[in-house]
Every structure is written in C-alpha cells, then in structure tokens.
C-alpha cells in the first residue's frame, strides 16, 4: 500500500504508456496510430518530470529568499529542510529533466508532422489510410512486380 502512495506517479505514468501503446498497436488506421504514438511519447515525458519533482519545491526560476514569494514558499517547510535542500534559502525542483523533456516534446511534434505528411501521401497513392487495405494492395503490387515488359 505504501509503495502505491510513494510511487503513485510512476504507476500512473505506466498506465498512460500502456494506453498509448495499446492505441498504437490495436488500430489499423494510420492517423490513429500517430495519436497513439503521441500518447506514448508524452507519457515518457511525464515520467521524467515525476523524477525531478521535489516535495515543497518550486519552479527553477531564481527567487530571493527575503522577497514576498520566497517567504511564502518557505512558510510550509521545515527550516532545516530548506537549509539542507534549498539553494539560497529557497527549495527548487530539479531543472535537468525539464530541459530534457523540452527537447523531447519538440522532437515529438517533428516526428508527428513528418508521419502525418507521409500518411497524406499514402492516402493519395492508395486511396485509404487503413493499414490492412494498404497491405492488400501492396501484396498485389508485389505479385505484379517484374512482369511488365
């Protein structure tokens, strides 16, 4: 029971990943496959961010400890905790996973755009975006290869 509480985020992230993979593998529609892929990629991002969260922390933008925000943030926390884990009197969350995920999100949208543009060309060339219909046509294509004079 305690594992579920302390690791809830990770379990939720696993569920989201599985939903994304399920959508990706169970549908034959190319556009829906891209959606599933997007879900899978976003949930990996959620995993990284969960790793970087510090309880009682705030966003990694510098705040002065003696300012209004600084005092408001330090109020609910134990002063020893702030002393040990804070930087300049304020506790921040880990900025490194944020940077990595920024990159990952942009890579994700780049992949999405290229994938969808290929899907549009497939629709023009095959008349459909259902993978099984495309496979049927591909098999006919393959059988016909080489017989042209």
């Amino acid at each position: 029971m305690s594992v579920a509480a302390t690791h809830f985020n990770y379990l939720a992230v696993v569920v989201l990943m599985m939903i994304g993979l399920y959508v990706l593998f169970s549908t034959r529609n190319l556009i829906k496959q891209m959606i599933g892929l997007g879900l899978f990629q976003t949930s990996t991002a959620l995993f990284y961010i969960s790793l970087g969260k510090v309880s009682g922390g705030t966003a990694a933008i510098k705040i002065y400890a003696d300012s209004v925000e600084g005092r408001m943030l330090a109020a609910p926390l134990d002063p020893d905790f702030v002393q040990q884990f804070g930087v300049g009197g304020v506790v921040y969350s880990n900025p490194l996973p944020h940077v990595l995920i920024l990159t990952a999100i942009v890579v994700g949208v780049a992949t999405l755009s290229v994938g969808l543009s290929i899907a549009v060309r497939i629709r023009e060339a095959y008349g459909t975006v259902e993978a099984d219909e495309i496979e049927a046509v591909t098999r006919v294509d393959a059988a016909r290869v080489g017989r042209d004079p």
Binding site: L16, L21, I35, T42, G57, P76, I105, S117
Partner: protein, 350 residues
C-alpha cells in the same frame, strides 16, 4: 498550516493524473478521428496544468503551445486531407496488443519499484547534477531562469540538435508535401479565405498582438518561463491565422515559400555560427565565454553590453540571446512550412 500546501499539491497531482488516464481511455475508445484529435488537445492542456503543479513552468508552456497548438493543427490538417471517416473496430485485433501491453506494463511496474520515492530531494537525480545547475547558474551564467541557462548554455549542444530536428522535419514535410517550382498553384477556391467581416477585423487586430506576444516570450525567456521554442511556435500562429482568414494565396504573397525555408536555414546557421565564432575566438564550440574577443571590456563603453560587475557573464548573455534567436527563426519558419505543406496540398486535389 504547514503541511496543507504540500498536501494540496500532491492531491492536485493525483487528481490531474487520474484525469489524464480518463482522457487517455476515452481517446482509445473513440471511433471518430475528429473527436480523438480534440481529446488529444484536451490531454495536452491537462498535461500542461499537471506540469505546472510539478513546477515545470517552461515545459508546461511548451506542452500547451506545441501539444495543444501545433499538434492539433497538423492533425486536423491531416484528417482533412485524408478525408477520414470513423475508425473501424475489430475485437479480434484487441487481444494480441492487450497481451503485449500487459506484459510490458508488468515489466515496467516491476522496474518502478526500484525507483526512489516521488518528490525525494535526496534522490541521485535531484541531489547531483540537477542541484549543481541551481547552485552554479547565478555565478557562471547570471540568468534567473535556470532551465533556460541549462537549455541554452550548459546543454546547448542538445538544443542545437533539437533545432536541427525541427529543420529536418521541415525538409521532410517539404519533400513529401511541399511546393516546388514545377507544381503550379491553381487559383484558390473561395472557401479557403473566409469573407465574414467579424473574422477579418478580429484577425487584423490579433495578428500583430500574437507576433508581439511571441517576441515578448522570446526576450523574456531568460527571466521567466519562455524561450525560443515557445516563441517560435507562437510566432508561427500569426501567418497561420492570416492564411485561415484571408486565404493561403495572400499569405504566400506576403511570405513566399522559398523565403520561409531560407529563414529556417538561417536559424540553424545562426546557432552553429555562434558556436564557430566561439571556436575562432579561442574557446570550444558553443563556449559563450569566448563569444567576444578578449579585451572587449576595454573597448566597449561601460554599461552597453551589461552590468560591468558581471563582465564575465556578457558572453553568456549574448550567446544565449543569439542562439535563442536562431531557434526562434528555425521553429517559426518550419511550423509555417509545415502548415504551407498541409494547406497547400488541399488545393492541388480536385
């Protein structure tokens, strides 16, 4: 009083994650592609709120703009072009994926048990390199937003790679859907440009404001949440809105295809160029401390480049400024290229 704030944060975290799961399940079961895409937009927005609860301000901004913004636009463009109908469901197809997914999921759950507790400030991830960035940024870089400092300076090479990924995506979409000198644009049907007066007036008011906001996000990325990627996408929205309301033809007359592609290229060149200049001045690649030739403080009048007390940070500040500018150019131009690709394709079909 002390514990409640932390508990509220945790409760929000759980609630939002449960909402995400609910939306995810809804997307999985949705037959209509249009509904699924709009739900993806909702998913991105809920993720953005969750990211704010997780103290990831820049990421939330990016997710909202990229996930709920550009991704939705591109997906909608795609289903318009493929004339998609409802997705068919076959119960036989659900068994194998479900087994695979349960297997991988089980492995992942087993793996998760080996991870440190959620929110633990003493975990290896949070106590080592991540914490050092917080400690060293004020002195080495002097920029309040530590995420920008890490993104643009410490891990600037990753950001260069990411900019090249965006550039490559622009090339990819242009190769697949793009205009070339041989494909002639037939006269646009009237449907692309909407004639309704309210839309035209509102668009004329909004477009410059959108561009202004984009530049605000760009230049304040050092001080608060923001930066080149978010600003680039927001800036791209201005021509996209223009095309939707006034017609693609008008937009292309103002921003020709080749010009936009050249701007994307210039962005990458600017970024790489900064790196090369640093190399020429005696540092390493992207070593902003060597952006200015040595002795520049003696020549430049004090105060022009920044606070003279922190002269060793001038290179960092300007290095970050220029590379973020490069990112802005490439991202904005590529998003517009991608839009041109999808929107332009609609015209060529009978």
């Amino acid at each position: 009083m002390s514990e409640i704030a932390l508990q509220v944060n945790f409760a929000l975290n759980i609630a939002l994650l449960l909402m995400l799961i609910a939306v995810g399940v809804a997307i999985a079961r949705m037959r209509s592609l249009l509904a699924a895409i709009l739900l993806m937009g909702v998913y991105s927005l809920v993720s953005a709120v969750w990211l704010i609860v997780m103290d990831a301000a820049d990421v939330a901004f990016t997710e909202a703009v990229v996930g709920a913004g550009i991704s939705t636009i591109v997906l909608l463009g795609a289903i318009l072009l493929v004339r998609a109908g409802p997705v068919r469901h076959n119960w036989r197809m659900t068994i194998a994926p479900a087994v695979l997914v349960l297997g991988v999921g089980g492995l992942l759950v087993y793996a998760m048990t080996g991870l440190p507790e959620f929110g633990d400030p003493a975990s290896p991830a949070n106590a080592y390199v991540g914490r050092n960035y917080l400690i060293q940024t004020p002195d080495e870089i002097g920029v309040p937003n530590v995420v920008t400092a890490v993104l643009a300076s410490y891990r600037g090479f990753d950001t260069l790679g990411e900019t090249v990924v965006v550039f490559a995506a622009g090339i990819g979409v242009a190769l697949m859907l793009g205009f070339g000198p041989r494909s002639s644009l037939p006269p646009l049907p009237a449907a692309m440009g909407d004639h309704h007066v309210v839309l035209r007036v509102t668009a004329r008011l909004l477009i410059p404001l959108i561009a202004l906001f984009a530049f605000y996000v760009q230049f304040h990325g050092d001080l608060g949440a923001g930066g080149g990627f978010q600003a680039g996408v927001i800036l791209a929205v201005a021509p996209i809105l223009h095309a939707l309301v006034f017609g693609l033809h008008e937009t292309i007359a103002a921003l020709p295809v080749r010009a936009v592609r050249s701007i994307a290229t210039l962005g990458v060149l600017l970024f790489a160029g900064v790196g090369v200049i640093c190399m020429i001045n005696g540092g390493g690649f992207l070593d902003y401390d060597h952006l200015f030739p040595p002795g520049v403080e003696a020549i430049i009048p004090p105060g022009l480049l920044g606070d003279p007390d922190h002269a060793h940070q001038w290179g960092q500040h300007f290095g970050i400024f220029f590379i973020e500018l490069g990112v802005l150019l490439t991202v904005a131009a590529t998003m517009v290229t991608i839009f041109y690709g999808f929107a332009g394709r609609a015209v060529e079909e009978p």
